[in-house]
Symmetry: D2
Subunit: 401 residues, 4 copies
């Protein structure tokens, strides 16, 4: 039904060896300008300030998620047999396109900006874009189908499980990819074995009991990546500076009628009706160029924060005790207006969430007796970890003297 | 004080890139016949029957332990400064020589045989051997010093910590090595980071608080290697067959005055006064050749068990419930004499033992406040795992019909 | 037509991640005693005396060749479509079974012994063996078909190209495997890309022009592995000692009517009518056990040579000039009978043989213009290398004083 | 003499595991704004358009060159003993800082722009910059010493050999690094073995004869990286588009007095008296932001070329025959002004240059006889390759219809 390429196309990739593309609509989406834009958004925001080689973009990650979905269809026992070609293509596209809506330095960005990246992803797929026109040309209903998977509304729960659950192609690719590009080994787990261990029972992905260790290893990989990479205090300090900068931009822009013409790249940041074109232009290149201008601008706070970011003059931090009040810490930034120079950020992570209102999120295990149980009821390790006192790390970030 | 080689010697090694040797006494020990004999003992006994590439010997592992001790001295903050050259050489040699006493298929073997490999190691170092003469020639007191470390009696507790504790060169090498040769990724952890994370405080190796994740990762690696590799039921079934065979040999040999001349390679197995020469000849080559003879011998049980082992006709197994009695399972081997055809084996593993009578065994953490605490009091993960219900796996092994 | 297993079986392998088995006849062959015997023959003979981790056996290599053939069928453009299922199974089995006939330390062994391993492989497949009965049961004509591929007589030249040509599954697996287990990186090349670069044109495997660099890289990998690993002088010295030992055994055995009862493991070595059972018993375990006996035997030369081999007291060597005579070197072993203590060995290797009488051996390249040319006419590198002065390395081996 | 840090600092790096910093002046240089700017210049220009993960910057490469120099000092036999601490620090800094002068998309850029990156590097080190002030503070003569090494004028030839010769830290790092980030295996070689194989004789780095294969492997790695990565036609097409765009910018800017105020980021491109500040602002972020503006500008050629670059609408190409004239190809861009839409680029590469006027560039081999010979006189492979017909690849790039 869907056109295939004359010859399979491949793209070299360090994580998956090759990304394999058979369908024309996939190939066309990869070439679309909204997808190419993902090359201009770092996968890990400011983490490259700590792990200096973590300079990879969401472009490679998006291809990787697609490739894992493709391998699932190929290698997971009984999966492709349960899915129509239409559903298969839908889930491949959902994997490929799920990150389209990200803005620059997403984490910091979304603290301040109204529009969430999930909504933008849906808009790019559904509204007037090159992606939408490619999908629609392949099949009129395709944009809506792909959007439904991303928006957790697709009638076939299997599709959502594949791209957005506790054991999905998204997490699997980013753990492996971020481990590779940071140069740590924490995120490594045995992808091939995970795929071999999955099975479809009653339209649900389950893990065979014999594969529990592989899944435990994957869950520990996640845990370690969070604490070693994603929550690294210096990366969080860098992001805190961006949040404070965006906050200052918002406050200054509100009062300055000429702001938009002076800083066109920051013109639409706070508009709830940002157009797709505005969003397209908003990437880390334009954002950084904006910072260069701010570093010469006459607002001293913007000038200072921008210069710090450009020159990597990163904030320091201290641990915040649970019973502390912000006043206790004011001395840390006494020479600075605290609204723009103090930031509290709390990180905490449960490696596996045992309970979830959304059953599609959980990991289920198929026993030798053909009973299906929750992972937490079968794995001592997952149980121990999940019920452990939550590790929490609250830090106050402030300018080093 | 100790002679150095004119030029550093290196041996290529997949785990450590190179094994580096600077001291003459180390190089001579590597060339000694008792050390070369380790090439004829598999590192993982019968595990190559499951992981077909796990054919590596105790020779490479022994070099690897030595190399990690060498790197500790080189890279661990403050370590070599606290040790005399004499102590440094002592611990290098203890790492190199700690496995000399192993017999063929040690695990199975020691169920039946009186002599333990630890004792044999001490005897080879202390009694009349090429190793002893090399050590003595380097310094008269060296054999006793090396033996003291291996026997947990050395006055400097640091040395024992380096080669025999919960975070020692022995475990570190075998996890990495066994992972490499089985082709699993479970045993991988970040060796370089572990070394960087260690520090000496009050003549004790401690882990800096910032390195806790690296240690958690190492402990999980151990946990997974146990369940995925070391306790693999098929490897245990193979070892069960060896135990039963050795048992039958013992029973038959007792009644047969000609046994020793018929099976010289099995002559000294059960003598408590085994000589070093007897031990030297006892390796997996002679053991396997003995099996070829047994496969043609006139005792039907020995013939049958030996043939099964040679042709990899491995026993099956079932889980044993905690409240079961052996009679419940007799039917599994009804055509066979149960003394030689039924075997119950229990595997259980705690990834980290929080309490130990031997303080040198524990892992301690140095906090930012310079306090030293037990790992279990600092790491949620280790805590959770250590207090989790112990995973136990009891299996009955029996001939498949 | 051929029975498939209920569920695909996999075996963990560090080179290929997994060996995948779908056909029952393949699985049964792997379980056969003649195939299991390959665990008892080192892949690289005495090379583990130099690269101490090169302890891997022909068992893993044989599985690896099978796996590459399987991947060729799966991944090479147009290949499986040109082959009947019968031919596919034939070539899978030829890959799996091609090394069955090897004896202990094959290289040294075949200098002395009459029977070549290729002939023994054919006999095991065609005569009365467990392998033959498994093949025959699957299909009466299968043993003959598999033997024809191995013996270069199969009517379909494609099958031979896949398992025995200058770019075949055998070479590909051993380069990767030997590199992995020695811990060198010389043998590495991009297997996945090689497979993607192959294509079938006119019942012939050809390389697409765009993949020439990948093939050049593979040819250089071969060149380096030969000089760095396979021709390492210490490994050759070890093998020289084995050749001399076997020679002495032959000479002594001829004169001693009781030899066969004293050394049953060396009884059939020189019989041209060795039975399959004799061959089955002849492995490196029995051979080494024989050496232990020889080390205590009353012929001083055998005693000496055996002890040297066991204790790794390896011969030294010097380069032999092209115009030298053996007398020039006699002084090197003046205390020893030169027939058993001097050995000259010549190593030379052409990384790629441009001309071959056997067209099936050559590598051909498919140009963008659809013309097929010889690799050497297209690749500057291969041309340069092939016409370079042959590197030759002649060495005399002798006992170190 | 030079201040050391209280504790060694390390930075995680996938190629070298860690970058190790002991000297304060090194650490300060890494923090300097001109060094941090290297994060904003891709190591491989537009190659990430082909190998999508080649998004790494010159920042990591510069650290890597430094680290290899550091390892040379540590591991190369006899090297550090021949160098004063001052020379050691000089060469470490030369390795670290050698790429400071690069502009955005250097290769394309330098076709058009007057200032060469080597000159800019020297200016940043010698003129008024944060780097200069850090170096001068450590020692007054340091900027001149470091510049002398980079400018091939340092009296101690060893220093230049280490950072800029046919076997230098620069090439070694970029081959390994570019291989890692593209995900190819072509650039891999055995760095540790190369370092072990080097030796200092008569103030010259030489290769020990026993290490020739390692060096051959390195030279082949270089050869393959050139053809597979650096000269990839699609990357060259992307760069051709940039060259054409820069050319158009130059032509338009000359005629437009308002250009500089409209496009400040492209204001100083063609000034021979570019200031260090101008250079600092000129990175790939500002360059790309300029492209976004050009994509909306009223010059149709600039608009078109900029849009093509942003949306990866890359030129096609054909091979140019050696006897062809440009007119033969005009039809390829008939709808376009040929000055901005046709580009001929010639790639050719000799893997090893046998003769060089600069002796410091060559690779020399130390024979067993203690004679020093040129690599090409000792290695058949290098000889064969060097005298092979030069591979040349001339392509015409033009807009796809």
């Amino acid at each position: 039904m869907f056109d295939r390429l004359d010859e399979q196309k491949v793209m070299r990739d360090p994580i998956h060896q090759y990304i394999h593309v058979d369908y024309k609509v996939i190939w066309d989406c990869i070439g679309a300008r909204e997808f190419q834009r993902l090359r201009r958004i770092h996968q890990l925001g400011g983490t490259f300030q700590v792990y200096h080689t973590a300079e990879h973009s969401r472009f490679g990650h998006s291809l990787g998620v697609y490739e894992i979905v493709r391998r699932m269809l190929d290698e997971v026992n009984g999966l492709s047999a349960r899915l129509t070609e239409y559903d298969q293509l839908t889930v491949l596209l959902a994997g490929l396109l799920h990150d389209l809506g990200h803005g620059p330095f997403s984490h910091s960005f979304e603290y301040i900006v109204r529009v969430k990246h999930e909504e933008m992803t849906l808009r790019i797929i559904l509204e007037d874009s090159e992606i939408n026109s490619i999908l629609s040309k392949a099949d009129k209903g395709l944009p809506a189908a792909v959007a439904a998977v991303i928006d957790h509304r697709h009638p076939n729960a299997l599709l959502e499980q594949m791209v957005s659950s506790q054991l999905d192609a998204d997490r699997m690719d980013y753990l492996l990819r971020d481990a590779y590009f940071t140069g740590t080994s924490y995120g490594e787990f045995d992808l091939e074995r995970v795929l071999r261990t999955l099975k479809v029972v009653d339209q649900q992905l389950v893990v065979k009991e014999t594969g529990i260790h592989t899944i435990e290893d994957y869950i520990m990989a996640r845990y370690h990546m969070y604490w070693q990479v994603y929550y690294h205090p210096v990366a969080r300090a860098f992001e805190a500076m961006l949040v404070l900068l965006f906050k200052r931009i918002r406050d200054v822009a509100t009062d300055d009628p000429l702001w938009n013409s002076k800083f066109p790249m920051f013109a639409r940041l706070f508009d709830s009706d940002m157009s797709l074109d505005d969003h397209f232009s908003l990437d880390e290149y334009s954002c950084m160029y904006g910072l260069y201008q701010l570093a010469k601008y006459d607002d001293p706070i913007l000038r200072d924060l921008a210069t710090r970011i450009i020159d990597r003059n990163i904030f320091g931090y201290i641990d915040v005790k649970s019973d502390a009040k912000i006043e206790d810490y004011l001395s840390y930034a006494q020479h600075y207006p605290s609204a723009y120079y103090l930031y509290i950020d709390s990180a905490n992570q449960q490696p596996y969430k045992p309970y979830s209102n959304n059953n599609k999120q959980n990991i289920y295990v198929l026993g030798a007796d053909n009973e299906i149980r929750r992972l937490i009821d079968v794995s001592n390790i997952v149980q121990a970890i999940s019920y452990a006192k939550n590790k929490e790390d609250v830090k106050l970030f402030f300018p080093k003297v």
